[in-house]
């Protein structure tokens, strides 16, 4: 029983991170119909920015804020300079470009920050809460992880549902031509979408890094699980991304806890294939067609 609780709690907090990462992928997919394979690398990059600030003696929270802000800026710059020229071309071009960015960011990070493992601090304790005589695998930091992902999710829902800029972003994502005819500066909305996505991705990067080791490739695994979570949720649905993230986090935690940690990657792949076989458009997508 205790193991089940521990495995479940561990899965939830890990799943929250995958959810954040999947959310970032979904934001970009919705806005520009591009899968951003560089999402993980961009998050890694901003996490290194935070690490540099922390090592220079600044507080964790200043570094945390700087990394999120850095994510916003990086997302906007990448969209304007690199993605904009290939938008409207064949979808494959943009995918290849994001793969190129994925490699480029890792290479640049290795040059700037070195490629050795470095430890990244956590703002909250990493030892589990005590319930009666047991210590559960749920730490103050896990609570922070889940809390911040929930806050981001609610913030995005509020943005899209209740604000004018959110409505303009959705209009641009769903129908660029009609949005332009209604006076919406679609280009600006796409840039904003990429900026927001990169900031959410940065959050995932910081949460993965907390209390762990970072190196230029530390996000690679998360990209795979985040992608599975996004596809699980249907790519078009932010709510689906979150549920997908939590499901994949739990599933992988059970596999790792009961079957063996070496099976985790295989299990993720098996889940992906199974979902695509049963529901090709994901669990939550209403879209009948998809242009890939």
């Amino acid at each position: 029983m205790q193991q089940f609780v521990n495995v479940t709690l561990g899965g939830l907090s890990q799943g929250a991170i995958y959810a954040a990462f999947a959310l970032a992928l979904v934001l970009i997919w919705r806005a520009t119909r591009i899968i951003n394979f560089a999402q993980g690398s961009m998050a890694m990059f901003t996490t290194y920015v935070a690490l540099v600030l922390i090592e220079a003696g600044h507080s964790y929270w200043l570094a945390f804020g700087a990394a999120l802000l850095g994510g916003l800026v990086l997302g906007a710059v990448v969209e304007r300079l690199v993605i904009r020229p290939v938008e409207g071309g064949p979808a494959l071009n943009a995918v290849i470009v994001t793969l190129g960015l994925f490699v480029a960011f890792q290479a640049i990070a290795a040059l700037l920050f070195g490629s050795s493992f470095e430890s990244f601090p956590a703002p909250f304790g990493l030892s589990g809460f005590r319930v009666g005589e047991f210590t559960v695998a749920f730490t103050p930091f896990s609570a922070f992880v889940i809390g911040s992902v929930v806050v981001v999710m609610l913030g995005l829902v509020a943005l899209f549902r209740f604000t004018d800029v959110g409505l303009r972003m959705r209009a641009s994502a769903f129908n660029q031509e009609v949005a332009r005819l209604l006076g919406v500066r679609v280009g600006g909305m796409l840039t904003l979408g990429w900026a927001l996505a990169a900031a959410v991705g940065s959050l995932a990067g910081l949460l993965i890094a907390g209390g762990n080791l970072v190196h230029p490739a530390y996000m690679d695994g998360v990209i795979v699980y985040g992608f599975v979570a996004a596809v699980l949720g249907g790519l078009d649905s932010p709510g689906g991304a979150v549920v997908g993230g939590l499901l994949i986090g739990l599933a992988l935690s059970y596999v790792s806890g009961y079957l063996g940690s070496e099976l985790v990657t295989l299990a993720a792949l098996a889940i992906l294939v199974a979902v695509l076989l049963v529901r090709p458009h994901g669990l939550f997508s209403r879209a009948a067609e998809r242009r890939v």
Partner: protein, 250 residues
């Protein structure tokens, strides 16, 4: 007498929208060839012609979705030639595209809010949400529904309502009758005519259904293979048997 005086001042102000010698090419194909069309304020101007005559291209060039290679587009005194589509929309040209242009993933009200956001920039806006709900009660009943759930006629009402909310100086309608039952077309055209008569709206109406269009239009232009082959007031066009048989199909 009062109405006549207003009409006279409007006519003196010149056309609300003027397209001069517009040429638009798609690669080697010339879709519009030195086309000149004027829409007078407070009138419905019909642009008629068969499939492929260049009607849709004309509207798409006016609203900036397609770039003309020559000629100019004037909204009153403002030169909109080759401005980006979003700037032309902000200047007061409301283009309702062919196939209706409903954003089906949004709710009815969200679609309308997009028009409202654009209209909110204009000091002289005439229509607010309550007005268009009065005009089209079916939309009010379905405001929280996804636009996807609307029938063809309701979708057409939605995009016209959205365009009205944006506070247009000129309304461009591309084939509003397409795929709709004659009864619904008559209703929508009736509402349009009322708005023009009551509020002085200016409409450029592209239609393949020439008979219906001429029944509500004040003036008309006939396009054939990218050229204007006739321009006159609506009654004259409808009475010209040769023209009707050759180009209008009724």
């Amino acid at each position: 007498m009062a109405t006549m005086a207003t009409t006279a001042t409007m006519a003196e102000r010149g056309p609300a929208l003027e397209v001069r010698d517009l040429t638009t090419r798609y690669g080697p194909v010339t879709a519009l060839n030195t086309v000149t069309v004027r829409a007078r304020p407070g009138e419905i101007t019909a642009v008629l012609g068969a499939n492929g005559a260049g009607k849709t291209t004309l509207l798409r060039t006016i609203s900036g979705l397609v770039r003309g290679s020559d000629g100019s587009v004037l909204l009153g005194e403002r030169d909109l030639t080759r401005a980006p589509a979003e700037a032309i929309a902000r200047a007061g040209v409301a283009h309702v595209p062919e196939g209706r242009g409903v954003i089906t993933e949004l709710t009815v009200e969200e679609n309308l809010r997009l028009g409202d956001l654009l209209g909110a920039r204009r000091a002289d806006r005439r229509y607010h949400l309550a007005d268009v709900y009065d005009l089209f009660p079916a939309l009010a009943e379905r405001r929280r529904r996804e636009a996807n759930s609307l029938s063809g006629g309701e979708r057409q009402m939605l995009v016209i309502a959205r365009a009205l909310l944006s506070g247009p100086e000129v309304l461009l309608l591309d084939e509003p009758s397409l795929g709709l039952a004659p009864r619904i077309v008559a209703r929508i055209f009736g509402i349009l005519r009322d708005l023009v008569d009551r509020d002085g709206l200016t409409v450029l109406l592209v239609e393949q259904n020439a008979r219906s269009a001429l029944s509500i239009a004040d003036a008309g232009f006939v396009l054939n293979l990218g050229r204007v082959v006739a321009a006159a007031d609506a009654r004259t066009l409808a009475a010209d048997d040769e023209l009707r048989h050759a180009y209008l199909g009724f």
